[in-house]
Amino acid sequence: MSYTIKDDIIQIDHLLFQYQQEETKETVTAVDDVSFSLKRGSFTAIIGRNGSGKSTLAKNLNALLLPSGGAVYVNGYDTKEKDHLWEIRQSAGMVFQNPDNQLVSSIVEDDVAFGPENLGIEPEEIRRRVDEALHKVNMYQHRKRAPHHLSGGQKQRIAIAGVMAMRPECIILDEPTAMLDPKGRAQVMEIVRQLHADGITVVLITHFMDEAAQADRIIIMDQGKAVLDGTPKEVFRHGEKIRDLYLDVPFAVEMARQLRKAGMNVPDDIIENEELTEYLCSSEAALSAEDDGESAASGETSASGTAPGADAKTVSDATPDAAVLAGDTVLEVKNLRHVFSPGSPFESVALSDVSFALSKNSFTALIGHTGSGKSTLIQHLNGLLKPTAGSVWIEGADIAGGEVKLRDIRRKVGLVFQYPEYQLFEETVLKDVCYGPLNLGMSQEEAEEKARRAIELVGLDFEEIKDRSPFALSGGQKRRVAIAGVIAMEPQVLILDEPTAGLDPKSHKDILSMVETIKNEGNVTILLVSHNMGDVARLADRVLVMDGGRLWMNGTPRQVFSRESELLEIGLGLPPAAEFLRQLAKNGAPVATQALTISEAVTAITQWKRGESQC
């Protein structure tokens, strides 16, 4: 059976995908009666929270999975027809989430050649395609290197080149930027836009709404169904519904919504910062006459149940700087220096002359681009690395001095690495969380008591979860259990290295509010490593900025983010609200630009508009 409509490259006809869950033998419906088709040359974003079925849908598009019901057609070929399997996979190529696990060869150009080699293409033609594909992703100069020496963003671009070398008509990217830093993410998105401009059909699965907004069509999946489908403007107009699905909206949509609440006449089809800037700078934008702005901003938001976090900021920002400085110091770093492989040709200075102090119960953020020395620094704080020079003091004792037992240091300073769920190993959640306390020499009862407290503190139901296997949990739950494993040791300082990496918007928010709970209820000093400037501005009362192994700045979020151009130079950005206000100011709006959060930005904009109406 074949079915052709010339304009469509992919047709999905009542797709049903079911599988049997191993543990419970229950039948799970991952994709439930989805139908749509994709036009040639279109750019479609598929969004939805974890478990909504979007990855399963994607794998059905190039016959990695086959429908349980309904059908998928690629270029008119039914994916169930074995005869056309290779044509289907060649014309709809796929890029996956993990940059490491999809590169086959230890040399970049051989990896890009892998697809064409499988297709049995002549060597000269393979050479041509490999070079062309590498040029397309700006990686030609790296063609002889080994993948493990490349950054995540570079690896992901190699993966894209590997697909492009097969000359597909369509490329499906399954969360290609989820594991990347902001720089890598920007590079990959740049390539994706370029591919679309070259006429390739793009399907992008993502958790980042600002990426989705660049598509010309968005499909939102929830519980296996396509619940919203339209242009970004059409889809993001349903802000409330999107929030009900535990997803985010792009920054401009949220900003516009908050402005409307404050009494401004902002249209509801604005989705990009540029549009909003343009609109606000035009004469159309005005505060409604009877409204004085201020009362609306505070009153209405709480009534309509804003997404958690959007307005929470003012709390931490209200902490006066002096109070932070006056607090007792719990951890102090003095003139820290670290050199890797000293004396060898690989010698590299990872840290030089870093000094700072963390005061008790403070919430400090550590920012810096990849390779700036952040992870080397945090590993010194609990004795995993020894300083080449300088010292680390915890409660008046130098941990590098050798007088303090490592066990005592680790009891005091907890370190949660990136993707901590990869370190789970026990049969049950309880046993896994007890591992740390038992290592510290606690008795079984004591360890279990600490574990119970920790599991409850990370927001899980102890009785319900304690006997389950950690491997059977969902991604977000696994991460909580792993964090509980560190908290159970009851550290006074808790360091978290990008605890939200790779999570969907809902889990992202949940993990951050969990961190706040730990800080407030557990009386723990927090050091959070983050790439998300919005989170940093909202949560931290102190920001440490690393660049090239040095502590570039140590200040309040307001002090740090006031130095926009210098931050850009060292590869960092501003919180979205601050960036937006600066954009406004650049377009000539006389608006105050020191705001860091959306609610502050609303105040700044309404003040500007009120001033305008008075003149």
């Binding site: 060869s105 230890s106 051989d110 697809g115 370190l415």
Partner: protein
Amino acid sequence: MLRDITLGQYYPGESPIHKLDPRTKILGTLLYLISLFIVKSFAGFAVALLLLGMSIKISGVPLKFMLKGLKTIFMIALFTFVLNVFMTPGTVLWRWGFLRVTEEGLYNAVFMVVRLGLLIVGSSLLTLATKPLQLTDGMETLLRPLQRFGVPAHEIAMMMSIALRFIPTLMEETDKIMKAQMARGADFESGNLLQRAKSLIPLLVPLFISAFRIAVDLAMAMESRCYRGGENRTRLHPMSFHAGDGVAAVILGIYLLILVGLRFIM
């Protein structure tokens, strides 16, 4: 750092030896290694040494790298030497208590150590002057005739090249998990053997899970890039013999003739 460790020990270069077809190099090395066992005199070793020295010189790989391989077998060489010196019966040169050194023993000892040295340095040249991927490609082609006897030549080569690709990744992973467990108070260093073995569980379980996750992801990525085994597969760098390979074959032929000749003369 861990990520700098790679399997094999390729020394990048553009020498004629580097440019030889991997098949020539593999077979050549094999013949050379066998030839060391037909040598019965130091004159033969002199010829073998001459050929090896010439090849090393041409390859441009610094001698330092060549001799690195010797370091690892130093203990074995020493053991062989001592065993031969003291255990071979014959004309006694020197005696001390039950220990005695014989003329034949000394001769044998030196002979064995020279042979061992040439074996190691000879095979190091192969891995130093051939890219690991070319080596696996060469092996695949050379094993191909054995396919009809059930030897999965393509699969073996694919496995080797995937191993090459993922060893650094798994090393990094090990490093990460180890640090994470150490941050939870794990102690991998102290205690008796049993305790130490037990302390590895929190490292090994997550590592295995990682390896399986990589395997599942990679298999899916390979399938989506149309991988379907070795049949009808083409190569970006097809292997082909050039003039250099002919020259190498002639030199090797002459070398073998000399060795065989020497055996009859001496």
